[in-house]
């Protein structure tokens, strides 16, 4: 549950999260955009299927792994949002071939 402080100079970017449109600010990382959009979790683990969400926001925990524009296991906190980006949350082991 994260809320945005007002920023009159903000530029909005529209991306899709699991097929649904979401709005983000142009300087957001994908992880920030997911949290701003109210997502509780971004993946389930390959070992036990446990839900995970971004933890460190600085690229060391590898919990924020999502599929971005068809490429899986990307660290959402290290990727900046782009207009039209397709983000998908991940379940368990990566789909082979994606």
């Amino acid at each position: 549950m994260f809320q945005r402080l007002p920023d009159p100079q903000a530029k909005t970017v529209t991306l899709s999260i699991d097929g649904r449109p979401a709005a983000a600010a142009s300087g957001d990382s994908v992880a920030a955009a997911l949290l701003a959009a109210g997502l509780a979790q971004c993946r389930t683990t390959p070992v036990s299927g446990a839900p995970r969400a971004p933890y460190c926001m600085m690229g060391v925990c590898f919990d924020c792994l999502v599929t971005i524009d068809g490429v899986g296991n990307r660290q959402a906190c290290l990727v900046r949002v782009r207009e039209g980006m397709r983000v998908e949350t991940q379940q368990g082991k990566r789909e082979a071939g994606r």
Binding site: Q3, A25, A32, A50, P51, Y55, M58, V60, L78
Partner: protein, 475 residues
């Protein structure tokens, strides 16, 4: 900022990490005529402490504070220095012969450098409490990054837990941003005060005292602080719902919570240094491993110097100065300046470094994290990537597994993508406690590149070289 296409095949000096140490080092070296490249995996400079300093939406300077804005003063000299600065560049390998593997925009490259300065900074200590993997639990640093980079603040019931100056800073920044914190669970062990006391005079004489006092005054009135918190657990079904804790000898209390922000200090981010074989040793005060470096930051590996918190936690001001010292030494080793000039130009930075380091011993001892928060038990997850619990690790020690590297083979502990960044210290201390020996004797994971995962596609796309074709053994 340089585009990947402008990147040269080789440089005199490669600096890795664009926090205070890296920014200062690259600027200084390039200014002395050293052909320098600065790699950083973030899209903008500043590292973590000055995260987003060139682009933050929080333009009202008071929210983040003056110390933060100093970061902007490091970026301008870098841009003017002539160094190639490549953002979004994840360095995943450095060989002892100066071959650097780096991924930029999804493509891997091998770049050569005659000298390397690692400025990979710090990361937060693991804080393995029951439920710490639940969605809704994050580090305090993560909350700061969301604030700095995106102007996002946690809503609902926000609980801070842990020990260390960063928690107070975050509490102040949240207050200035108009966000509410339900409570701070202060886990600082009461006995720390006695241990820190001998270092109080130096602390009182340092800038940290004045700044710390101002922070405390700012938040104390409006923040509910619960002290001497021992047992903490995050609970919820699939996401955080409440935090359960005990204060002192008190009864178990429950706090409804939507977000729990954990912090108990920082430790050097040493994966790259370790993977090159830089000697590291256990720091019994700061309770972490740090690379062994000399007064110029030179490591045990000829090619490599290490500057900033990545060489040992000493804060942002010290990091800058150590970056400049490493740059001066690099310029000297590369033949740009002689020793006399190096030493002469180093003198003011040594003075500034000493000043920056004063008072830190007090902070290190005062905020030393609690043993029970470093060495968990039972079902508490230690290795988040592979979901290995404290109990599994302790049982494996009983089976004769004496160190973290053997633990990798038994339990996959440390074999996940984070490469031990979030479990290494815990595993070392757990094994040490189970064996009754010191963490220094147990040692740390032996890390290997790539220190960040690279795709098969990136690896397959590396340019072919004659050497590679010759090195094939069996065909």
């Amino acid at each position: 900022m340089s585009a990947a296409s402008e990147l040269r095949e080789s440089y005199d000096l490669a600096v890795i990490g664009a926090g205070p140490a890296g920014l200062a080092a690259a600027a200084r070296a390039a200014g002395l005529g050293v052909a320098t490249v600065l790699f950083d995996e973030q899209p903008a400079p500043g590292g973590q402490i000055y995260r987003g300093v060139t682009e933050t939406p929080l333009r009202e300077r008071a929210v983040l504070g003056a110390d933060y804005w100093h970061g902007a003063d490091l970026v301008a000299p870098l841009r003017a220095s002539g160094a190639d600065y490549v953002a979004g560049a994840a360095v995943w390998s450095v060989s002892r012969e100066g071959e650097i593997g780096v991924s930029i925009a999804g493509a891997a490259r091998l770049i050569r450098a005659r000298r390397v300065i690692l400025a990979t900074g710090a990361l937060e200590r693991p804080f393995p409490i029951p439920g710490w993997t639940l969605p809704g639990v994050m580090t305090a640093g993560a909350a700061q990054i969301l604030l700095k980079s995106s102007g996002l603040v946690a809503q609902g019931a926000v609980v801070l837990a842990g020990t260390g100056p960063l928690l107070w800073l975050l509490a102040a920044q949240y207050r200035r941003a108009g966000a509410r914190i339900a409570a701070m669970l202060d886990t600082t062990p009461p006995e720390n005060r006695r241990a820190a006391l001998p270092h109080l005079p130096a602390f009182l004489a340092s800038p940290y005292f004045r700044k710390g006092l101002a922070l405390l005054r700012e938040v104390k009135g409006s923040l509910r602080i619960i002290r001497d918190v021992g047992a903490i657990a995050a609970r919820g079904d699939g996401r955080l719902r409440e935090v359960v804790y005990r204060s002192g000898d008190g009864a178990e209390e429950r706090l409804p919570a939507d977000t729990l922000l954990l912090h108990q200090g920082v430790a050097p981010n040493l994966n790259l240094a370790n993977s090159i074989g830089c000697k590291q040793e256990w720091d019994a005060t700061q309770l972490c491993f740090a690379p062994v470096v000399d007064e110029w930051g030179a490591s045990s590996v000829d090619l490599v110097a290490i500057a900033g918190d990545g060489a040992g936690i000493a804060g942002a001001q010290a990091a800058e100065e150590r970056g400049r010292l490493a740059a001066l030494d690099a310029a000297c080793r590369l033949g740009r300046i002689d020793k006399a000039r190096r030493d002469r130009e180093a003198a003011p930075h040594r003075t500034a470094l000493r000043r920056a380091e004063r008072g830190r011993a007090f902070l290190d001892l005062l905020y030393r994290p609690r043993r029970s928060h470093r060495i968990p038990a039972g079902d508490t997850i230690v290795c988040r990537c592979e979901e290995v619990t404290a109990q599994q690790i302790t049982e494996t020690v009983a089976l004769g597994c004496t160190g973290p590297n053997q633990m990798k083979s038994f339990l996959r502990c440390g074999m996940g993508p984070c490469q031990g960044r979030l479990c290494g210290l815990t595993v070392t201390e757990l094994i040490a406690a189970a064996r009754g020996v010191s963490p220094a004797e147990v040692g740390y994971y032996r890390l290997r590149p790539p220190v960040k995962p690279i795709t098969l596609e990136e690896l397959a796309g590396l340019p072919q070289s004659d050497a590679a074709l010759r090195a094939v053994v069996r065909s």
